[in-house]
């Protein structure tokens, strides 16, 4: 979604001047940009689609993968951090990421949305504008899903209170700065020209790497990996996968910020890269001597969606198909071979799919952007130079995520103790943390 300068509306001020100075007012009205209702409507729809990705999409996807005694805990943690991220966004998040004052690392101003009115507008990539409230809401859902994704590695053992404390610190020191650096016009990666259409670095690499660090500090689930911990409902995981795929059109095509040709390209790519990744994961299973599985199909879909996120409007459809296939195979090898060999407990593979798939997607975007491969890059596109830029943005994001997550987790540990007692972990977090059971 790269970003553009925000143009503040002056509705209240000009309204009072209209009566006294009709001629001047007319001229000002002609100059003030007005959102195209079609674009506004698409961005409102996209915003809601991203919310649907979280609730119930991600909640069902992650919930089905946990054991039945932790179903409600998983869903409630996702719901809790989503609501918290929304409130933090309107209080400080928007100002820190997209505020009027700032430098290449952070911005400030517009805290508590000061000065934003229904007439305020945000620029898109063309001469069009959309309502600033819509832009704020759209970006708000991105911050919410990113922190919710991190939880995939720490479910079934982290306290609800610790999850909430972690979220406050992590959003402040990791998410808002990275969102500013990648998407805001003054941001360091934006200026470098890193290609990231819908948030491969900000959302997926960031969430995946943070998930890995959080899981390493938190430690393994009791009994992992000796004790069997199969998913309690792949049916719900499948339902959640479908909701994520549909919602992802808001995430990717919405990142064009208009209902235009760029959004159309992002849409077709979000279909075909994902379809390719779903089948290639099952093929990888088959070639490893196993059966093509439902969970493999779902995992492939997520890997494909993650990989096509930075490439959505930056690739031709056939580049996207190849990108989806490659990401799927790399993620399959990572979660089924590399992770067991390393022995850490990234419970639902938040790093294995979002981190690894995000890195493949971000670097791959520097390749599929080339016009010779059907991408939208210009004739003078320099693939070598672009790859250096892509890798630098990835490396810097990883460094920030690692340091910031470590700080956020240790602060959460100091405040809450971080991990539930062995007894609660054994009984399940549904009863231990929330006093309920998912199934009666």
């Amino acid at each position: 979604m790269m970003n553009r300068k925000l143009i503040c509306g002056t509705g209240a001020l000009t309204a009072s001047l209209f009566a006294a100075m009709p001629a001047w007012a007319q001229e000002a009205a002609a100059a003030a940009p007005v959102p195209n209702p079609g674009n506004n409507a698409w961005m409102m729809t996209s915003t809601l689609l991203v919310l649907m990705m979280i609730l119930p999409g991600l909640a069902l996807f992650y919930g089905g993968l946990t054991r039945s005694k932790n179903m409600l805990s998983t869903m409630t943690q996702i719901g809790g951090v989503t609501a918290l991220a929304m409130l933090m966004w309107v209080i400080v998040g928007y100002g820190l990421a997209f505020g009027p004052e700032g430098n290449q690392f952070i911005s400030w101003g517009k805290f508590f949305l000061a000065g934003v009115t229904p007439d305020s507008t945000a620029a898109t990539f063309t001469d069009e504008v959309i309502s600033e409230y819509v832009f704020i809401a759209f970006q708000m859902t991105f911050s919410a899903i990113t922190v919710a994704l991190v939880l995939g590695s720490v479910v079934e053992r982290m306290k609800f209170s610790a999850v909430m404390a972690f979220t406050v610190v992590w959003l402040l020191i990791v998410y808002y700065p990275i969102a500013h650096m990648v998407w805001e016009a003054r941001g360091v990666f934006f200026v470098m020209g890193a290609l990231d259409f819908a948030g491969g670095t900000v959302v997926h690499i960031n969430a995946g790497v943070s998930a890995l660090v959080a899981a390493l500090i938190l430690g393994k689930r009791k009994g992992y990996p000796a004790e069997p911990m199969p998913p309690h409902s792949l049916t719900l995981t499948f339902v959640g996968t479908g909701l994520l795929w549909v919602g992802w059109f808001g995430f990717n095509a919405g990142s064009a910020l208009e209902a235009n040709g760029s959004a159309a390209l992002a849409m077709i790519n979000t279909f075909v890269a994902t379809a390719s990744a779903a089948l290639f994961w099952m093929l990888a299973e088959k070639f490893s001597g196993h059966k093509g599985s439902a969970l493999g199909y779902c995992s492939g879909i997520i890997a494909g969606l993650v990989a096509v996120t930075p490439a959505a409007g930056n690739s031709g459809p056939f580049g996207a198909i190849v990108l989806g296939a490659v990401a799927s195979i790399v993620c399959f090898i990572f979660v089924s071979k590399v992770k067991p060999a390393l022995g850490y407990d990234d419970s639902l593979d938040a790093f294995g799919i979002h981190g690894v798939g995000g890195i493949v997607g971000a670097i791959g975007t520097g390749i599929v952007y080339a016009p010779s491969l059907g991408g939208p890059g210009g004739a003078d596109f320099d693939m070598g130079g672009q790859l250096v830029t892509q890798v630098s943005a990835v490396a810097a994001t990883i460094a920030l995520s690692v340091v910031g997550t470590a700080i956020a987790i240790y602060i959460a540990k100091a405040i809450t103790g971080l991990r539930v007692s062995p007894e609660v972990e054994s009984d399940g977090l549904d009863i231990g943390e929330h006093g309920e059971r998912a199934y009666n």
Partner: protein, 112 residues
């Protein structure tokens, strides 16, 4: 009277029920059970994590029958439920001391 317990593969239940009906069995009790024998279990794989389950789903049929019908029942179940592969199950025959129909209080063979 005899009490016959047969553990069979779930997909054979309908065939066994029909065959027993044809030789005059008037009732049976069926439950879904889990267990293992020579067929040790199966392997499940979730994103590369392999879990071997050592209990397999089976169906348990219980039939109470007069002494003269019991051998025919055992023979029928054995023939119909067999796939000639391990995991086909077992049949157990027990002596049955008494039987009472709750509605009428009838006892013995007439209660079956």
């Amino acid at each position: 009277m005899k009490f016959i317990i047969a553990i069979i593969k779930p997909f054979k239940l309908d065939e066994v029920r029909e065959a027993l009906g044809a030789i005059g069995v008037a009732g049976m009790t069926v439950s879904e059970v889990k267990g293992f024998g020579r067929q040790k279990g199966q392997t499940e794989i979730y994103r590369g994590a392999e879990y071997s389950t050592n209990m397999l789903p089976k169906v348990k049929i219980e039939v109470a029958a007069p002494d003269d019908l019991a051998p025919k029942i055992v023979e029928t179940i054995q023939q119909v439920a067999s796939t000639e592969a391990i995991g086909d199950g077992k049949i157990f025959v027990l002596d049955l001391a008494s039987a009472v129909r709750i509605r009428t209080g009838e006892a013995g063979d007439t209660a079956l």
